[in-house]
């Protein structure tokens, strides 16, 4: 049983955490690639406000137009609240959405409105023409938390999963209801990097693989060096980082993508990582050994010269 110990003056962990969260807030506005912003939140909002009324779309019969427009406004103003839904395999799509929401919110809003109105739209080098099954399902996904009331998020995720295919999707290529939780929506590492390249025309630098961990001696130093050029995505074994069962995982495979926002070594030989997933930033302290074990891919990107 727990007893309340007398208060002892220690160097509490929260000081480190508070310091890091302050650091995070302070540095968020100074990402090295901010100069590459194509449009601003205000421009996106002005565009969305200029749309007085959006008619129901024959292409997306179950996506409510008012809620859709409201979702787009929220994406533009609060990009880090973008949420992939509980229990889905949409984490990769959610992680890469950071790029358009952060660097070109106006372009993303325009793309989404076109996709809604015309049932097809182009982003980067990709022409999206979502299948009828996917178009019918968007707006109907349920029991996924805040994704339930985000038809715009559902349209975006389902369109991405419908268009991009990797070897994990080989045996399940056609959407059936419920496939948002299955291999149909999964993303292998090469597919993730390919999506970044094709959608946002970035120079993508991936280090890792689906089954073999990258050999990096000093992960924080390596990542911090790479982060000077732009944001970093990590491909992780989430079963170790965020346990849901009390079993020792024997065969570790990566299953989750996050956007890394900061990594630092702390005094007690641990490493603090700050990452973004499920619509929130998370600050977590991990052992260096665990960090080495969970990272299967580190992807950075830089912008092509205009």
């Amino acid at each position: 049983m727990l007893s309340i110990y007398p208060y002892r003056k220690t160097i509490p962990l929260y000081i480190l955490f508070q310091f890091l969260s302050f650091y995070l807030h302070a540095s968020a506005g100074q990402l090295p690639s901010d100069s590459n912003r194509i449009s601003t939140q205000q421009q996106a909002l002005a565009f969305l406000d200029s749309i007085d009324h959006l008619d129901s779309s024959k292409y997306w019969p179950n996506a409510d137009p008012d809620l859709f427009l409201q979702n787009l406004k929220t994406f533009a103003t609060e990009p880090l609240k973008f949420y992939e839904g509980k229990g889905t395999n949409f984490c990769a799509y959610s992680a890469l959405t950071y790029v358009p929401l952060n660097y070109d919110p106006l372009g993303f809003s325009r793309f989404m409105v076109t996709l809604y109105q015309k049932g097809r739209a182009k982003m980067g080098r990709v022409m999206f023409k979502p299948s009828a099954a996917v178009r019918k399902e968007a707006g109907l996904l349920k029991y996924k938390g805040a994704l339930d009331i985000s038809p715009a998020g559902q349209i975006w995720f389902l369109s991405l999963a419908d268009h991009f295919k990797g070897y994990l999707n080989f045996f399940n290529r056609r959407f059936q209801p419920g496939d948002e939780n299955t291999l149909w929506a999964s993303t292998n590492y090469a597919k993730f990097n390919r999506m970044l390249r094709k959608l946002f025309l970035l120079k993508v630098h991936g280090h890792g693989a689906d089954l073999i961990r990258p050999w990096i001696k000093d992960i924080p130093a390596y990542i911090n060096r790479r982060a000077t050029k732009g944001p970093i995505f990590m491909y992780l074994n989430n079963r170790l980082l965020y346990k849901k069962r009390h079993v020792a995982t024997r065969f570790g495979i990566p299953t989750h993508y996050v956007l890394l926002l900061g990594i630092t070594k702390v005094d007690n030989d641990k490493i603090n990582i700050i990452y973004w997933d499920y619509g929130k930033k998370t600050l977590q302290q991990v052992e260096p050994r665990l960090l080495k074990k969970i990272i299967f891919g580190i992807t950075g990107f830089s912008f092509r010269k205009k």
Binding site: M1, L2, S3, I4, Y5, Y7, R8, T10, P12, L13, Y14, F17, S21, L24, L67, L80, K86, G87, K142, Y143, G145, A146, D148, I149, N181, K243, K244, R245, H246, V247, I274, K280, K281, T282, L283, Q284, Q285
Partner: protein, 201 residues
């Protein structure tokens, strides 16, 4: 040879029967025996949660290692402590938790073998609502040749609809079963449902 095959089939049947039998007995008895503690856990958790949103995990079998998730509007902090570590109390005080109430909550969780408690959001008529989600880890739920199971309880604020098989229904569409973490839950009473799941959160 024939005798050997019979022998294998016999052994297999015993394993199968013994591995299937644990869950029914446990679900029948657990809530009845621990109802007061579970209700106390729920009340304390909700009081503490209203002041500062959090989720709590008892990580190990001895229920002495703690995982604490503190949620703010923009960031989630994940801490790991042992219950005998002073850092734990320091952190609770810093985040202005009621330390006594939190300790009582942990004691209750240890008593009822709860491994995880959180508030889960769900949506009805586009309105956000919450339910209390509790996972119980008990050695009675482990069986030979079977992966560990968790007895998960969800506690609603309002009475919920159920079908004739006592399965939880969707309030908005009563022809459909409501899924929580992808699982169908069954009735304990009109506000409390349970499921045996492979994951505790």
């Amino acid at each position: 040879m024939k005798r050997f095959v019979y022998y294998i089939i016999f052994l297999g049947s015993i394993c199968f029967v013994s591995s299937c039998s644990y869950s029914k007995k446990f679900t029948e008895n657990y809530y009845r025996e621990n109802e007061a503690t579970i209700q106390s856990i729920k009340t304390r958790f909700k009081q503490l949660y209203d002041e500062r949103p959090f989720a709590l995990e008892l990580k190990d079998k001895a229920l002495n290692s703690l995982g604490l998730e503190i949620h703010t509007d923009s960031i989630r902090y994940i801490y790991t402590f042992r219950t005998d570590e002073p850092y734990f109390i320091d952190t609770l005080e810093k985040y202005q938790f009621d330390v006594k109430a939190m300790s009582e909550l942990i004691n209750d969780m240890q008593k009822a073998h709860c491994t995880w408690i959180t508030n889960l959001d769900y949506y009805e008529q586009r309105q956000k609502k919450y339910l209390v989600f509790i996972s119980v880890r008990d050695k009675k739920l482990t069986a030979f040749l079977k992966p560990e199971k968790y007895f998960t309880l969800v506690i609603f604020d309002q009475p919920q609809p159920y079908d004739e098989k006592q399965r939880l229904l969707d309030n908005e569409d009563r022809k459909k079963n409501r899924l929580i973490n992808g699982v169908i839950f069954r009735k304990i009473n009109d506000r409390v449902s349970y499921a045996l799941t492979g994951k505790y959160r």
